[in-house]
């Protein structure tokens, strides 16, 4: 009889925990949105202007336009590099690498994936920054620097996920293609198509990560709110503004609310990407596996 009550408590406790977790996501979206409502009401479309002067007393402007653009450019630019390089390395590991090579490379990549983002930021500022200065850049902290560090952050993940997707391709498929006399490239193409779902998922996750990353861009991208004109320009992505100003802003002020609006944008962007990724993955999987 004791066993029955313990069992019952057990089931109810676990259900409660799961419900709490589910509620958390909704709570997050709700909170952030509600704090950003004043900004939406008072500033409206002005939020998307390129002028960010939140602390002016007379006519403060809260335009996140430039920052948003910079964020997007940085994310797209870096992602494309990470996607191609990551894919290349993953293919190499899957098809051509010797066991020892594969283990070594994957092990090092795993260690790098464990480097805290703030430490990578330190690397960008102190080590890469010096190189940039020596190369004549006018700012040690700039777009390219941020892009490189962000690549270091996300490349291990891209390689790992793509590699796993390729490894999951059933042997019969690969062997079937080879048996038909297909050449190297064609065989790889078939494997990639089968692994497409996992790869696309990895690509979108990488983009998501880069877009949402704060510490690195805070430290390494430079702080200038100007639209990017050359790779060595300092820029200020959305998350950097959020990270640096949220600590000093007056609670309840319009500035505060606009910052929450930024957070809400970032959050929504991430959620949309997530949904997109799930949809695409599911479509691809159905198309591949029938």
């Amino acid at each position: 009889m004791m066993r029955k009550t313990v069992s019952f408590i057990f089931v109810s406790l676990t259900s409660l925990a799961a419900v709490v977790v589910a509620a958390a996501l909704f709570a997050i979206v709700f909170f952030i949105f509600s704090e950003s409502v004043p900004a939406i009401k008072e500033v409206g479309l002005g939020l998307f202007s390129p002028n960010w002067y939140p602390v002016w007393e007379v006519e403060p402007e809260f335009g996140i336009g430039t920052m948003l653009l910079n964020s997007l450019i940085l994310s797209v630019w870096t992602s494309v590099w990470v996607w191609t390089i990551g894919l290349g390395v993953a293919i190499y590991l899957h098809k051509y690498a010797l066991n020892k090579e594969r283990e070594l490379i994957l092990r090092v990549l795993e260690y790098v994936s464990g480097i805290p983002s703030v430490v990578l930021g330190l690397f960008g500022v102190l080590i890469l920054g010096n190189w940039f200065l020596r190369l004549g850049a006018w700012s040690a902290q700039n777009f390219l620097n941020a892009s490189i560090v962000l690549s270091v952050l996300t490349l291990p993940f891209m390689v790992s996920l793509t590699f796993q997707s390729l490894e999951k391709v059933p042997r019969q498929l690969t062997e079937g293609a080879i048996a038909l006399g297909a050449k190297d490239l064609a065989v790889t193409w078939i494997e990639l198509k089968h692994a497409a779902a996992g790869i696309v998922n990895a690509m979108l996750t990488v983009f998501n990560r880069i877009f949402g990353e704060t510490m690195i861009v805070l430290m390494v991208a430079g702080g200038a709110n100007m639209l990017l004109k050359s790779l060595l320009d300092p820029v200020r992505p959305l998350t950097a503004t959020l990270g640096s100003e949220i600590g000093e802003v007056a609670v309840g002020s319009l500035h505060y609310s606009v910052l929450f609006f930024i957070a809400f944008l970032v959050l929504t962007g991430c959620l949309i990407l997530n949904v997109l990724s799930n949809m695409i993955t599911r479509k691809l999987e159905r198309w591949i596996k029938g």
């Binding site: 066993r3 029955k4 069992s7 057990f10 089931v11 676990t14 259900s15 925990a17 709490v20 977790v21 589910a22 996501l25 709570a27 997050i28 909170f31 952030i32 390089i85 290349g88 390395v89 293919i91 190499y92 590991l93 051509y96 070594l104 490379i105 990549l109 795993e110 260690y111 464990g114 480097i115 805290p116 703030v118 430490v119 330190l122 500022v125 102190l126 080590i127 270091v152 490349l155 190297d184 996750t205 998501n208 990560r209 949402g212 990353e213 704060t214 510490m215 805070l218 430290m219 998350t239 990270g243 949220i246 910052l259 957070a263 970032v266 959050l267 991430c270 990407l273 997530n274 799930n278």
Partner: protein
């Protein structure tokens, strides 16, 4: 084709290795300075040691562990053993979604909820609650795969001897304990490394004493690295490098343990 990819991979490998090694090596000598681990920082962190940051990070980790592991474990059990399949998949995708939310958003949320609405202020408790909110989905995502991987023969075996739900679950936990341990270490490792969520909710750059109660602010390793690199001069950078080196070494240790556990499990 093979050679282009090979050169590419080696280049990437060497670049990554360089990043890893340069960070560790640049700070390694400082770890051996007398008093590095036991002294307080002095003179705008240009002298002294990292004692309060070390303690702060440890306290934070202990709290995050105490809050998120029990909740996470229980939630994972629910996901894998109790929930009906459709609901379970739904919850799991929710957890996966939460996992992809940028850490700064958690920080902002933590600020709004814990620091302001619940009035905990910039404190140890706000920071640990924020980190926990982030860590629980991460843990669940990782652990649930291990639980699900337990073969159904094991579950059938215990049920056919007359075990009830609780006893059967205990057996599944036992069978997947390596995986759960791995998930636990990875979760704590991630919480240890995160900066953005605690920057705004609990960490300060300089405090004269250790947090005495939960509502005190705390100094931590990652936030201090940030502070030194961004705000302080050349003479303080050594401390940041030392801390960075230490953090990377700790993370490498955690990952090594995870790798060894993974290899053992395969045998």
């Amino acid at each position: 084709m093979r050679w282009t990819l090979r050169i590419l991979s080696y280049a990437v490998f060497l670049a990554m290795l360089f990043v890893l090694v340069s960070i560790v090596v640049s700070g390694l000598p400082y770890l051996f300075r007398p008093g590095f681990f036991t002294a307080w920082p002095r003179r705008a962190m240009s002298e002294g040691g990292i004692f309060p940051m070390l303690v702060g990070s440890l306290m934070l980790m202990a709290l995050v562990f105490a809050i998120s592991i029990p909740v996470g474990l229980v939630g994972t059990i629910f996901l894998s053993e109790i929930a009906p399949r459709k609901f379970s998949l739904f919850l799991q995708s929710l957890a996966a979604t939460m996992n992809s939310v940028p850490s700064i958003v958690y920080g902002v949320f933590g600020l709004a909820l814990f620091c302001i609405k619940l009035n905990f202020g910039t404190s140890l408790i706000s920071a640990s609650l924020t980190l926990s909110t982030m860590s629980i989905p991460f843990f669940m995502n990782s652990a649930v795969e291990f639980l699900r991987a337990v073969p159904k023969e094991l579950r059938e075996g215990v049920i056919s001897l007359g075990a009830n739900k609780l006893q059967a679950t205990l057996m599944v936990l036992r069978a997947s304990r390596n995986g759960i341990l791995t998930s636990l270490m990875l979760t704590l490792g991630r919480a240890f490394s995160e900066t953005a969520p605690i920057l705004v909710t609990g960490a300060v750059f300089y405090s004269t004493r250790l947090p005495g109660k939960l509502t005190d602010p705390v100094m931590t390793l990652p936030t201090s690295i940030y502070a030194i690199v961004m705000n302080l001069g050349e003479s303080s950078q050594w401390m940041a490098k030392g801390m960075a080196s230490l953090m990377v070494l700790i993370m490498m240790f955690i990952y090594s343990v995870v790798q060894i556990t993974r290899r053992n499990k395969r045998e």
